[in-house]
């Protein structure tokens, strides 16, 4: 087992004829990911990397039974691409689009959540269940070396840091069940607490690692789930960006931030919040395997 994707996942790639999509598809196919269809309106009937291209997601799903979509459509078209995938019955999707306008992101995520679907991203570099399936650019051409299979669930706000986690776990003789690169944007489709609940339900995950940055309420929600007894597997956290607290902040622009913002969204406050809930908080990636071992031994 693993979460979100496994060896049975059947993938459609939206925007499959673009350069980045082709580049990633080659390595995903080599890895063994079952990419069964691509979609680019106007290019139906062609093939890319041996994969048949369709004009619409609906046609791709009907012809191939795809159940998961990797969306390379850039920011300007991504809301439509997500709505099209939902309409075609896709319930797991990734969006690699960067710089998605906030209002668009909110609308797309609200639609995805209403449908009971899962969106990884925006601005994710991918998702990997080592040895089974990888989506997006995660791991590049070195996915086997960077992400050995194992029993640790990884949930990271940064794509680059997901690879560092894979490296650190591998160096310690450990590996991952699934690595979720959540996407670094303020609005992303999944909450860290939701990913942790999926790992909680996964019999092949023994413990989780989360990586966070300043801003947002992901960690506070995870702590609420831990305190509610929903998450019993050990969690190790790395939260970076504490340096920002040492430097002058931007001048206030309006009052609203001071009136409604959560004071607990600095890196230091998040570390404290997590530690108080029993999460083991690392200062460096190098400590993460040791903390995991200690957590699993208790």
């Amino acid at each position: 087992m693993s979460i979100l994707i496994d060896e049975d996942t059947r993938v459609v790639v939206q925007g499959a004829t673009g350069n980045q999509a082709r580049f990633d598809m080659r390595y995903c196919l080599e890895y063994g990911t079952r990419i069964v269809a691509g979609v680019t309106p106007g290019r139906g009937g062609e093939t890319v990397e041996g994969v048949p291209i369709f004009n619409t997601v609906d046609a791709a799903v009907r012809a191939t039974g795809a159940d998961t979509s990797v969306i390379y459509v850039p920011a300007r078209g991504v809301v439509d691409a997500i709505l099209e995938a939902l309409d075609a019955g896709i319930r797991t999707m990734l969006s690699l689009a960067e710089n998605v306008p906030r209002h668009d992101a909110a609308r797309a995520v609200a639609a995805v959540r209403r449908a009971g679907a899962h969106l990884v991203g925006f601005n994710t570099n991918g998702l990997i269940s080592p040895g089974k399936c990888k989506l997006g650019g995660i791991g590049g051409d070195r996915a086997h070396a960077l992400f050995p299979p194992g029993r640790i669930g990884v949930c990271s706000r940064s794509g680059g840091m997901s690879a560092e986690f894979g490296l650190a776990l591998g160096a310690a003789g450990m590996g991952a069940s699934t690595v979720v690169s959540m996407g670094g944007d303020p609005i992303v489709g999944l909450r860290v607490a939701e990913v942790l609940r999926m790992f909680e339900a996964d019999p092949d995950t023994d413990a989780c690692v989360i990586y966070g940055e300043p801003g947002g309420t992901h960690e506070a929600e995870a702590v609420a789930a831990i305190r509610a007894g929903e998450l019993r597997k050990p969690v190790v956290a790395l939260v970076v960006g504490a340096f920002q607290e040492r430097y002058p902040q931007g001048a206030s622009f309006g009052h609203v931030a001071a009136m409604i913002s959560d004071p607990a969204d600095s890196a230091t406050a998040k570390r404290r919040l997590l530690a108080d809930a029993g999460v083991r908080v690392a200062t460096t990636l190098d400590e993460v395997p040791t903390l995991l071992r200690a957590a699993l031994a208790t």
């Binding site: 609200a110 940055e213 990636l285």
Partner: protein, 405 residues
């Protein structure tokens, strides 16, 4: 991008919302003439510093005066210094007769916009909110359905405004939400939201921050976009301006550079890894001379600008180049950029520690370039980011006192 008051109010007017008529004035004479033109000889005007800062009222940068006193008020505000810079321009507008002051804002919550309203507006809105928390009401807005009139009415009702005002405020609030959305705003604050003696709600103070990622839908603002403020709102330094210029004009992804007080230059990439390495350099007792976050580029030019800006500062005694293990930029182009600056500035890398943690495409070529500069320490494959941070901190600490680039 923060819109100044003139642009914010123009955007609201374009959205069909009534705002006081006003103009921008560059000096006291212009302000006095504008005041007469807007309000007539017996009228009253509001004169405000045209700066991207909140709390202007508290800082004495807003005056409501008779037209005859407009010049004096303008001169006084033009003499003020806000955020480290003199006030250069004023916003002059017709004064509104105010019976009471309310507050309204739209901002972003976790996944959706929020409406914030209070029956206490004006310069003391934050302290009033603490003193009377029941008057401050926050409501989440569904991003698909938008804000319904009855939801806006319920928020104002809960805030405790007089019943007769509720329908008028609800209608204005829905119109403002439409503007917030049409403008791709990250924040829209109306303070005060004035109530006239006749009982009509009027937008008086307005500020708006719009989403840089949505400027493609707003070409007029795109042309104005020029981020001119460093941390704490200070003006950009020469080095920061040079990098900002390179960032705009040279090929490659977004590259940010902010100067700080320390002595270790950081050329670190990847949103997460740049934060992580900055934390660790501090953790190990080092003092970063800057923060950066750079993205891949097809040529070394943009990085040359960043590395040159770093070494242009005499306080810089070492450099860490640290990238994620899986980064897709060509390593040789990054090291070539370093080589160009070392040659140009005649920097002896055996006296200025330079540590590279850089793996990925064309790594062998990159190592060969680095090998031409004795003292450049290119860390072996598998070295962690933490080890790289420790390495540069210890190398700089080991330098004899007073040595510099």
């Amino acid at each position: 991008m923060k819109l100044l008051e003139d642009a914010a109010k123009e955007a609201l007017r374009d959205a069909g919302i009534e705002v006081p008529r006003g103009v921008v004035a560059a000096g006291a004479d212009e302000a006095a003439a504008a005041a007469r033109e807007l309000a007539g000889d017996g009228g009253r005007v509001a004169i405000k510093a045209l700066v991207a800062a909140g709390r202007r009222g508290k800082g004495g940068a807003v005056a409501v005066v008779d037209v005859g006193q407009a010049r004096g008020a303008a001169e006084r505000i033009l003499g003020l210094e806000l955020q480290g810079a003199k006030v250069a321009r004023l916003w002059v507008e017709q004064a509104v007769d105010i019976a009471s002051e309310l507050y309204l804002a739209f901002a972003w919550g976790t996944l959706a916009p929020r409406l914030v309203v209070s029956r206490h507006g004006g310069v003391d809105v934050e302290s009033a909110g603490h003193a009377d928390p029941a008057a401050l009401v926050t409501r989440e807005i569904d991003p698909v359905d938008g804000l319904r009139t009855w939801q806006a009415a319920a928020a104002w009702d809960a805030a405790g405004v007089p019943s007769a005002l509720v329908p008028k405020l609800a209608a204005l609030t829905v119109a403002l939400y439409r503007a917030f959305r049409a403008c791709d705003a990250l924040m829209l604050e109306v303070n005060p939201l004035a109530v006239t003696p006749a009982g009509a709600p009027r937008v008086v103070g307005a500020m708006m921050e719009v989403d840089d990622n949505a400027l493609f839908r707003h070409p007029a603002w795109e042309a104005m976009a020029e981020d001119s403020a460093g941390p704490g709102g200070r003006p950009l330094t020469a080095g920061e301006r040079a990098v900002a210029h390179a960032n705009r004009t040279l090929p490659g992804g977004a590259t940010r550079y902010t100067e700080l007080d320390g002595d270790i230059g950081l050329l670190v990439s990847g949103g997460g890894a740049s934060l992580y390495q900055h934390d660790l350099v501090l953790e190990y007792g080092g003092r970063p001379a800057n923060h950066t976050d750079f993205s891949p580029a097809p040529t070394p030019d943009k990085l040359v600008a960043v590395i040159d800006a770093i070494f242009a500062r005499p306080q810089v005694r070492g450099l860490l180049i640290g990238c994620n293990v899986l980064q897709l930029a060509r390593c040789d182009l990054i090291v070539e950029a370093l080589a160009i600056v070392l040659r140009r500035r005649g920097i002896d890398a055996s006296r200025v520690p330079i540590v590279l943690r850089l793996f990925g495409p064309m790594e062998a070529e990159a190592r060969a370039i680095a090998a031409q500069f004795p003292g450049v320490h290119y860390l072996p494959a598998g070295t962690s980011l933490a080890q790289a941070c420790r390495e540069i901190v210890e190398a700089v600490r080991a330098l004899p006192a007073g040595a510099d680039a």
